[in-house]
Each structure stands twice: as C-alpha cells, then as structure tokens.
C-alpha cells in the first residue's frame, strides 16, 4: 500500500482505494482484520483522522465493519461489492480518458477495438 502525497486525490480517498485494491487482489481476505487507523497513521506519517476518514468511507459502503472493542474487519461479500462499485465508474475513470486521448492522436475506433482484442500484443 503506497500513498502519493502529490496526487490530486485526497489521502483519505487513496487509503480507501488501496484497501479496496488489496481486497480485490485477495491480499486482504474477507473477515480478516485491518490494521488500526492509528497504526496506519504511524506507518504513513499522516494524521489519524485522515486514516479514519478513509476507513469511514468503506464502513459507509459496508465493505468494512467494526467489531466493538476489537477493530475493523473486511465484510463478507466485500469483493463483489467493490467490483460492482468499480463497474459503475469504470467508464468515467478509464474509457472516457482512453477515447479522448485516442481521438487526440488520431486512433480510429476500429484500431482501438483491435488493440483491445489483441490485448496489447500488437500495438504499432
């Protein structure tokens, strides 16, 4: 998990996304415990309130839940939940920019489709 302090994206958003990425990739299992926000604060040298805000986002989306007196745990079905959420913003976050850039440099829709189908094997 790494933070980009110079990024446009707020630190708390990066924390939430990083945790989601770890869940998607299986690096953090469902029902396993997350590091505490205090631990995260010390590791990343950020204010604990920022770490708390990032985790709070995940709690709101029911990706993570609190076990009183113990800590934060990844919810059952969190992976599916994240995939669903990411599908909804996939167009805005990736396709939109892709189409804009392809258009700027004169790549046709057909060329684009070919690139995607070939999976980058032939992109001269």
């Amino acid at each position: 998990m790494k933070l980009d302090f110079s990024s446009e994206k707020s630190i708390y958003l990066q924390i939430a996304e990083n945790i989601e990425n770890d869940i998607l990739r299986g690096a953090i299992e469902e029902e396993s415990q997350l590091p505490s926000t205090n631990e995260m604060a010390v590791i990343f040298k950020i204010n604990p309130a920022t770490a708390g805000k990032g985790v709070g986002l995940l709690v709101d989306e029911e990706i993570v839940y609190k076990k009183r007196g113990i800590g934060m745990f990844v919810a059952q079905g969190a992976k599916k939940q994240i995939q669903k959420k990411r599908r909804r913003v996939f167009y805005d976050n990736y396709i939109s920019t892709l189409l804009f850039e392809a258009n700027s440099i004169g790549i046709t829709r057909d060329e684009l489709v070919k690139m995607i189908t070939d999976g980058g094997a032939d992109n001269e």
Partner: protein, 289 residues
C-alpha cells in the same frame, strides 16, 4: 464541535505603528494537531507568546481550558510552549535542563524523556552551549513531547534538523499522539512535508486569520487550470483566481474554492489541463499581498 482548549477573542497587539495581531479570533479543539502557517512577520510568534503569557495583548481575551489564560497558575502547567529561540540556561547540562523543565508540567513523563534522548541520540551530559543548532531543536522536541501537556505548542520545531531526524520527529509525534492524545499546535515553514500530519491548518496573514480549514480541504479546493489564454479566462470567470502566470499563449491559473466534479469534467472536456496545486504553493498564493 468538540471541547475548545484554547480560544482568542479580538486579540490586538501593536508594536509602534505595526499591528502584529489585528482583532484575532481563533479556536483550538481538544486532541487535534494544528499547523500554524504564515509568512515571516505574519504574527504567529506574537500569537503564541500572548496565548502563553510571555507577552501581553493590547486588547482582547485569551481563554484556555475554559479559564482566562493570562498568568493563570491553574492553566499554565497544562501548556507546554517550546519557542523557536533560546530559552535555556547555557551552562546547564541537558540532563539538568530536562529535569528542571519537568517541574513545570503536571504530566511530564521522565521515562519518555529518557527514551526520546536515546532515540534522538541526545547526549544528556552535554552543556546547552555545546549543542549544535540541530540538537538545540532536538532538546526542545524531547521536552515538548515528554511534557505530555494537554496543550503542547512547537514554534519551528525542526530548524537545523536533517531529513532523517525530521522523519523521526514526525513519526514520534503521530505515535505519541495516537497513544496519548492531546492538542498540538505546530508553527512551521516546512509546509509540504508536514501538511499531512496536521488535521487543520491555520493561516495567518498580516496579523489576521485568513484561513482555518482541514488540510485535505485545502488541497481539494485548489486547482491549476491551464491551456490557451482565452479558454482559461472563460473557464476562470466567476471562480476565485488566486494566481496567474503566462508563457507565450499558454495561461496557468490557480483557483481556490469548492469546484464540483462535474465542473472539473466540463473544464477537462473543454481541453483545459487540470492539476493539483502543491500545498506550499497554495500557501504562497493565499498569503501574497
């Protein structure tokens, strides 16, 4: 709002014709880390000196822990102020200075002070006047942290410290804050590297409070908009432009204020380049005359 630890009301202080503080109103809450930012001469040190009774205000009030703070014996042991300049007896040894300082603060933790001396490799047997500039700062850091004072104030704590030691300080600050919460006010010129430690930033300009906001809000609300001059001008109309630069026909504007994601998408779609403003640059623009 959580409990207010320190509050000033209409604080005014002049030195001859110069108003160092001009009707200054600010509130600090319990268990938060604040960054106090301002240009040289903006009034930061005057503010800190007044709130800790080192100098007196011309008018206005300071309340700490719910009571009038001025020379209040109940309140002063709860406040540890480590100023930028010299405050220790030159011929005293570090060990003696720490012991002596410990007597001032109700919650001082001597064991923690010892641990910190080891962490920072501070020689307790050295006399104060034999310390390098960096170690003078380290001594202040040790006392400030070990004071465990509910209100702990550092004025330029990392002067003369190399990057590695500054790193140790920030880590130690956050770690101790999470284990023993208290209110920290840290005045610093090293904005870029400390901005993420602070929960809130307080910006002073010409003796006035110009901004008090969560650090991430500062970042979220600042954008560079760049592109062809006409396009930038059109986009920036109605927005709060805090800085402009031109290179040939390319114009770059820094805008400050809440901008919706839709508006940002709109600007990008219009061919403009949107990028984040480093917090140090933002500070420079906001405090420009």
């Amino acid at each position: 709002m959580s409990e207010i630890i320190l509050e000033t009301k209409n604080l005014t202080k002049s030195y001859g014709n110069v108003k160092a503080l001009d009707n200054f109103n600010v509130k600090f809450e319990k268990d938060k880390i604040y960054g106090l930012l301002g240009r040289n001469g903006a009034g930061k040190t005057t503010l800190l000196n007044i709130t800790t009774s080192r100098i007196f205000t011309d008018s206005g009030m300071v309340t700490a822990f719910g009571e009038n703070a001025v020379e209040n014996g109940q309140v002063l042991p709860k406040i540890c102020y480590m100023p930028e300049k010299d405050m220790f007896m030159h011929k005293m040894k570090v060990r003696e200075i720490i012991k002596h300082a410990g007597g001032f603060y109700a919650d001082f933790d001597m064991q923690y002070a010892e641990n910190l001396c080891e962490k920072f490799v501070l020689d307790k047997n050295k006399k104060y006047n034999a310390l390098s500039r960096g170690y003078e700062s380290i001594l202040r850091i040790v006392i400030g942290l070990a004071s465990r004072a509910p209100l702990t104030i550092f004025d330029e704590p990392v002067l003369g410290l190399d990057a590695a030691v500054r790193d140790i300080f920030y880590t130690e600050l956050i770690e101790d804050f999470t284990n023993n919460p208290r209110t920290f006010i840290i005045s610093t010129h090293l904005i870029e590297e400390s901005a993420d430690i602070f929960e809130e930033a307080i910006i002073i300009k010409n003796g006035q409070l110009i901004e008090q906001t969560a650090c991430e809000t500062l970042k979220e609300n600042a954008h560079y908009v760049s592109g062809k001059a006409e396009a930038v001008d059109a986009a920036a109309a109605g927005l709060n432009v805090i800085h402009t630069e031109s290179v040939a026909s390319v114009k770059i504007c820094a805008i400050y204020g809440k901008v919706s994601p839709e508006k940002l998408r709109e600007l990008k779609a219009a061919g403009l380049d949107i990028s984040p403003v480093p917090v140090q640059k933002l500070f420079i623009y906001l405090t420009e005359n």
